[in-house]
């Protein structure tokens, strides 16, 4: 009995916690049911999808509730043991692969978010995709997609984690390429899968390194395999691992996160992934898929913590990548005309914030940002879908087909504004709490430069979202939003499927019952669309209160519930299986090594989470960041209004944008100089060249490298195939055959078929043989 365990109190459990593993199982079963019976059901299988996700949501809510009770039943500094259940999946060659659940604070948070948003997105899709020719398949893939993410979230070990991770990859392929008749869509799907898969090499290698490096330690000390997340976490913090090995493991795993979470330089697949239906984009970019990479870092945080020396004196690879991502993606959002692409780049940028937080030791703020971001980003995407569904005639082009929509779509507009303010980080919307916490803590942990990058990113975020808002909802209606319909005009955006060909398979296709509504001009969407949006909008306001640091410590719920405590777990831990071992922690000096778990560590015991600092909230800092945000909004608003609202005809033809000028803008000639200032002074010099350069870099250099690699690979493949395989390797084989053949041809004339000749040869040979014999015997 160590001293630690005396203060422990028993932890409460519950049915939901014990059976949270059902959360991914239910949608998986749902998937098979939809595939097998979906087409015969009255709602074409969509009801199964919705019901199964509601089931998961109930489980997730129950588990969250019971987890909160579990935390409350623990004493102040006690490590709240995760609820773990494992089953042996298979074993071979001494390695045992288990499958199981690992429910702790992080799991519960993400589980709830995923189940919640998946459910809303499914409900939304009921209306959005009505009449689609692959309606059933869509719901099947969407359900399996959620199942993959849920499986990854509850995973106890890296194998199940990988399983969920890859299933998501597969489903993203199916969903992004949903309208695969169009070559661009299937290419986007391919690009997404392939880019992510490239990152997955890192995951495979990382898992292999971790397994073999940690397996011996974990089996001896904890009775767990080297795949177990708990085992690996404890191992990483034990002071035992070789620093090079764990560095390699962390970097390899981070490569996977770069691919999955769209971090620089592998973010190029994300905007292309907008080719999928909007609900898919919404799910993909809010709570699943791209969050998976962030979740991996958060889940295996001890590995990254030790491996990359987080909280160390120098900056680490996560922070650098994250900082680059934040700025580059935000800058790219300025030159987009496609509303979904603005949101896509915004997601990339926000993922950068999460990574920045994780990389600089702000674990809890990053997880909190996952939580809040999921709601407002899902809401924004669903709003974009709602606009294209009911107002812009299936277009996503803000400049051609939107504008002035606030009057026609009050619910969508209100939700959009709320979510935008949340994204920009305006008090008291949710984004303010989470983003400011990240920036605060980055600064608090001593990384001043990265804090400035974060603030600059907040400025950019505010500016581009204001621009998008202005273009969409303010100003005068244009194109489809003004009631114009040019059936043969390709809308010029990536996924709008502007050409209404006979296949009828594009976005909200021709057989859509609301087609006639679209002809009636912009209007608000139906309840199945607006209700999910409204719910998300409410959460976009309220979800920040879950960890509202400005209101004092009693409001820091998430910190209490979700953050694993860096306490040392000793012997006979109350509650929870698998916690009954004593072992000596390797120490540098006589039981007083400084360990990540705390300043001094006792000789026995293990900890599962590093001790992290929390920056103290100060209104002065918050006001500074709010000022920056408001500056961004105000500046962007003024410039947008000037540029898009009051355009001067003399600029027509000078820039690309002026091609869209309408005759009505001529009345606004007196605002010419403001336009000039905007175009020449700000946009051309800052937003224009810089962000275009970034976009050019994105499209030409990064994509060019990708294409170059592919072409080079194909060229090499061709050369290898033609010259080495066909000529050399195959040639050798053919040559040996030829030699045999020519030898045969040489001897062939002897086989004349004439018996006499045979006889002569026979006797001649016999005579020669006799001669030889005689010579040899004399």
């Amino acid at each position: 009995m160590s001293a630690v365990s005396e203060t422990l109190s028993p932890l409460s459990g519950g049915w939901f916690l014990d059976n949270a593993w059902l959360a991914p199982v239910i949608p998986t079963v749902g998937f098979f049911l939809i595939i097998m019976f979906g087409k015969k059901l009255p709602k074409k299988g969509s009801e199964i999808g919705v019901i199964s996700l509601v089931g998961s949501l109930v489980l997730a809510s129950g588990a969250s509730w019971q987890w909160i009770h579990r935390v409350n039943s623990a004493s102040e500094e006690q490590f709240v043991t995760p609820v773990v259940r494992t089953w042996t999946w298979w074993q071979a060659g001494g390695a045992e692969f288990t499958i199981g659940q690992h429910i702790d604070g992080l799991t519960v948070v993400v589980l709830f978010v995923v189940a919640f948003i998946s459910t809303l997105v499914q409900i939304y899709s009921l209306e959005y995709l009505r009449g689609d020719r692959r309606y059933t398949h869509f719901f099947a893939a969407l359900t399996l997609f959620s199942a993959g993410m849920l499986a990854m979230v509850v995973a106890e070990d890296m194998i199940l984690f990988l399983l969920g991770w890859e299933i998501m990859g597969l489903c993203s392929f199916m969903l992004i390429g949903h309208w695969w008749e169009d070559g661009a869509n299937s290419r986007a799907a391919l690009k997404a899968f392939f880019t992510v898969r490239t990152g997955d090499v890192g995951l495979l290698v990382g898992i292999a390194i971790l397994f073999f490096a940690a397996n011996e330690w974990t089996t001896t000390n904890l009775g767990l395999s080297g795949f177990s997340i708990r085992g690996v976490s404890a191992w990483a913090l034990s002071g035992n691992p070789n620093s090079t090995v764990i560095l390699f493991a962390a970097v390899a795993l981070f490569v996977a996160c770069i691919g999955k979470s769209g971090q620089f330089p592998l973010h190029t697949w994300l905007p292309d992934a907008m080719a999928g239906p909007t609900p898919v984009s919404s799910l993909l970019h809010s709570s699943t898929m791209v969050v998976a990479g962030v979740f991996l870092v958060a889940r295996l945080y001890p590995v990254f913590f030790t491996g990359l020396d987080i909280l160390g004196p120098s900056s680490n690879v996560i922070m650098v990548i994250a900082a680059i991502t934040i700025v580059i993606a935000a800058a790219l959002a300025f030159v987009q005309t496609d509303i979904k692409r603005v949101l896509a780049y915004s997601t990339v940028s926000q993922l950068g914030y999460m990574m920045l937080g994780l990389g600089s030791g702000a674990w809890l703020p990053a997880v909190f940002h996952i939580f809040t971001h999921a709601f407002f980003k899902a809401c924004l995407f669903l709003c974009a879908g709602s606009i294209s569904h009911s107002a812009s005639h299936h277009s996503f082009d803000m400049k051609k087909d939107m504008g002035g929509l606030r009057k026609h779509m009050p619910v969508t507009f209100a939700s959009w504004i709320v979510s935008t303010l949340a994204l920009c980080g305006v008090f008291p919307f949710s984004g303010f709490f989470s983003k400011d916490e990240i920036i605060d803590n980055v600064g608090g942990n001593g990384y001043a430069f990265f804090m400035i990058v974060g603030l600059f990113g907040a400025f950019l975020t505010a500016a581009y979202m204001t621009r998008a808002t202005y273009l969409t909802f303010f100003g005068s209606p244009r194109g489809a939003a003004a009631g114009e319909h040019d059936e043969h005009d390709a809308h010029g955006t990536h996924d709008a499927h502007g050409t209404h060909d006979a296949h009828g398979t594009h976005d909200k296709n021709d057989v859509h019952p609301h087609e006639d509504h679209a002809h009636a001009g912009p209007h608000e969407s139906g309840l199945l669309i607006t209700v999910p949006i409204a719910i998300l909008a409410v959460l976009a306001i309220g979800s920040g209160l879950f960890n509202a640091t400005p209101f004092g410590e009693s409001w820091e719920y998430l910190k209490k519930w979700a953050e694993p405590r860096a306490a040392v777990v000793g012997e006979d831990h109350a509650g929870g299986p698998g916690e009954s071992l004593i072992f000596a922690m390797p120490s540098e000096e006589e039981g007083h090594s400084t360990s990540p778990c705390g300043t001094e560590t006792p000789e026995t015991g293990v900890c599962y989470a590093p001790a992290l600092n929390h920056a103290e909230f100060k209104w002065s800092k918050a006001l500074l960041s709010l000022a920056i945000v408001f500056a961004g909004i105000a500046m962007s608003w003024l410039l947008s209004a000037a540029l898009y609202g009051k355009r001067d005809p003399r600029l027509v033809g000078l820039t690309q944008r002026n091609r869209f000028a309408r005759a009505g803008y001529r009345l606004l000639a007196n605002k010419y100089y403001l336009d000039d200032l905007y175009e020449q002074g700000v946009v051309s010099n800052v937003a224009g060249p810089i962000s275009r350069a970034a976009y050019w870099f994105n499209q030409n250099v990064l994509d060019g490298i990708l294409h170059g690699v592919v072409s080079a690979a194909r060229w090499i493949a061709f050369v290898v195939y033609r010259d080495i395989d066909q000529r050399i390797v195959d040639g050798t084989v053919n040559a040996s055959a030829d030699i045999t053949k020519s030898a045969g041809a040489t001897v062939q004339p002897i086989q004349s078929g004439r018996v006499g000749l045979y006889g002569a040869l026979f006797f001649a040979t016999a005579a020669v043989a006799a001669l030889v014999f005689v010579i040899l015997n004399t």
């Binding site: 890859e166 898969r197 073999f212 690979a713």
Partner: protein
């Protein structure tokens, strides 16, 4: 090693039932095609029933020991005996050969390739089945060799008679290549026999006594076996017969070739070469591993350069068998387990891909990838099946392919004691890159054949998957999913036997 001799008639019955079927077929008039098909079908069903009985009677708690052992004298002059038995390594492959033959027969009921003559076709197929099953149960080197060679001839005729345009070239290449390998293999077997005192050809005996051979001699004997087995696998650079044979063979031939024949080589490594000559295996392992990863990358590059769907699938076999060989080359039970699983998985998946390719060819009359497209609109079921198989083939977790690939990569991190760890870790990273390339060529194939709009043809006669195809394919598809979800079904059988086979390496 413990031998269990209960029910020792079962294996002989299962192996030679097809021969009985051949005799009945020979007596059946050629013109009566319905009767010919019925006899072939019933024979293969009977074989599978015997196989099911084998499975039922197999003692899974003793999967590591030989079961159903039968041993009688055969050619006493050279001390060769008729000695057969199965353990956990043989059993899955033995049953796979039976099941695949049955499925191929079912498929053939409706798809006799030109120029017809079902009687001869089925006769060859049943002889092939005897050869394949016999190879997996033989416990005597001479017996093994006889069965191993028995497989060649029917396959030669199958390609040469029912094949594509360049069938003569392909069949000859296949035959000569494998014969060349077998010749060296036979020499190695004889050397093995004489170096262990010319006592017996029985595999268990040779495994026990092989380790006593001097190391430099072992290395040469291993070289002979290596060439024989590596040609069959096929490993880079002995693989060039494979794309030709696969491309030219009729669908049924391709399926059997991919599903079973390639496994004869890897099985030979696991059962014969490595346990008998442990010292030589240690010497050779890094080279085998090296060739394996070269094969992985090389096969994938080959795939990317292809314009023919069937040839692409054939090249992908080179890459996949590279993963199997990488697992074997680690000489750890973990790696060999992965390899044996990989063999079964590859058999199921690639066999299925060839089935699909055959049906595509039958419908579109071409396999040029550029001329295909929009399969999902014209034949959604076939398109989805192709999608599932592609996903399984690129190693998606939850499907069978993953459990052959991922543990093989994993095992390369930690090869057996005495092997160079750095070299193997390099192999691991290269192999992991191979999975990316696999994703590239399979998805590329899928995107161009299944997605998009149909190209130019007037295909009013296109029909989706028909009943015969469903019956022949469903078992494979189900197995791909089931083994993907519950890999322990297979691993629990393989593992004890693999542990036994690798005793020489200390576990």
């Amino acid at each position: 090693m413990q031998m269990i001799r209960d029910n020792n008639w079962v294996l002989s019955a299962g192996t030679f039932l097809p021969v009985l079927g051949v005799l009945i077929l020979l007596a059946t008039p050629k013109a009566n095609e319905a009767a010919v098909k019925m006899v072939a079908l019933l024979t293969s069903i009977a074989t599978v029933v015997v196989g099911a009985f084998t499975l039922y009677g197999f003692d899974f708690d003793k999967a590591g020991s030989m079961q159903f052992v039968a041993e009688t004298s055969w050619i006493p002059v050279i001390k060769s005996t008729y000695f057969i038995g199965v353990d956990g390594i043989s059993l899955p492959l033995y049953l796979l050969s039976m099941v695949v033959t049955l499925l191929v027969v079912i498929y053939s009921l409706d798809h006799i390739p030109s120029p017809g003559n079902p009687k001869a076709f089925f006769v060859l197929m049943l002889i092939l089945q005897t050869g394949m099953a016999g190879t997996f149960i033989a416990q005597d080197l001479i017996l093994f060799f006889v069965f191993f060679e028995l497989v060649l001839l029917p396959m030669y005729f199958m390609i040469g008679v029912w094949g594509g345009e360049q069938r003569q070239y392909a069949s000859l290449k296949f035959f000569l290549y494998t014969m060349f390998g077998s010749a060296l293999m036979l020499v190695a077997f004889l050397a093995m026999f004489f170096k262990t005192g010319a006592e017996s050809f029985a595999i268990p005996y040779l495994v026990e006594n092989g380790a006593g051979i001097a190391k430099n001699v072992q290395v040469w004997i291993f070289a002979g076996m290596f060439v024989g087995f590596a040609v069959k696998v096929p490993m880079f650079p002995f693989h060039t017969w494979l794309p030709d044979a696969h491309t030219q063979a009729p669908t049924q031939g391709s399926v059997i070739l991919a599903a079973i024949l390639l496994k004869l080589g890897t099985y030979g490594f696991v059962r014969i070469a490595i346990p008998m000559l442990p010292d030589a295996a240690m010497e050779w392992a890094p080279w085998i591993g090296g060739l394996a990863v070269v094969g992985i990358i090389y096969g994938a590059l080959g795939c990317l350069a292809q314009t023919d769907m069937k040839r692409l699938i054939a090249f992908s076999s080179v890459a996949h068998m590279g993963f199997v060989m990488l697992g074997i080359s680690t000489l750890t039970s973990f790696g060999v387990n992965a390899a044996v699983f990989g063999m079964v998985a590859h058999g199921l998946i690639t066999g299925m891909l060839f089935f699909v390719a055959g049906s595509v060819k039958e419908r579109y009359h071409t396999l040029e990838i550029n001329k295909l497209g929009g399969m999902l609109t014209q034949m959604p079921r076939l398109g989805w099946i192709l999608g599932l198989c592609s996903m399984a083939s690129l190693g998606l977790p939850g499907l069978a392919g993953f459990w052959g690939e991922f543990p093989a990569i994993l095992s390369a991190y930690n090869p057996a004691d005495g092997l160079n760890v750095t070299v193997y870790r390099t192999y691991m990273v290269i192999a992991a890159l191979g999975t990316v390339l696999a994703a590239a060529y399979l998805l590329w194939l899928y995107q161009r054949t299944a997605f998009g709009t149909p190209k130019g043809h007037d295909h009013h006669d296109l029909h989706d998957v028909n009943t015969y195809e469903w019956v022949a394919w469903l078992p494979l598809l189900v197995a791909i999913v089931v083994f993907g979800i519950a890999p322990n079904l297979l691993f629990s059988v393989i593992d004890p036997a693999v542990q036994g086979a690798l005793r020489a390496f200390g576990g």
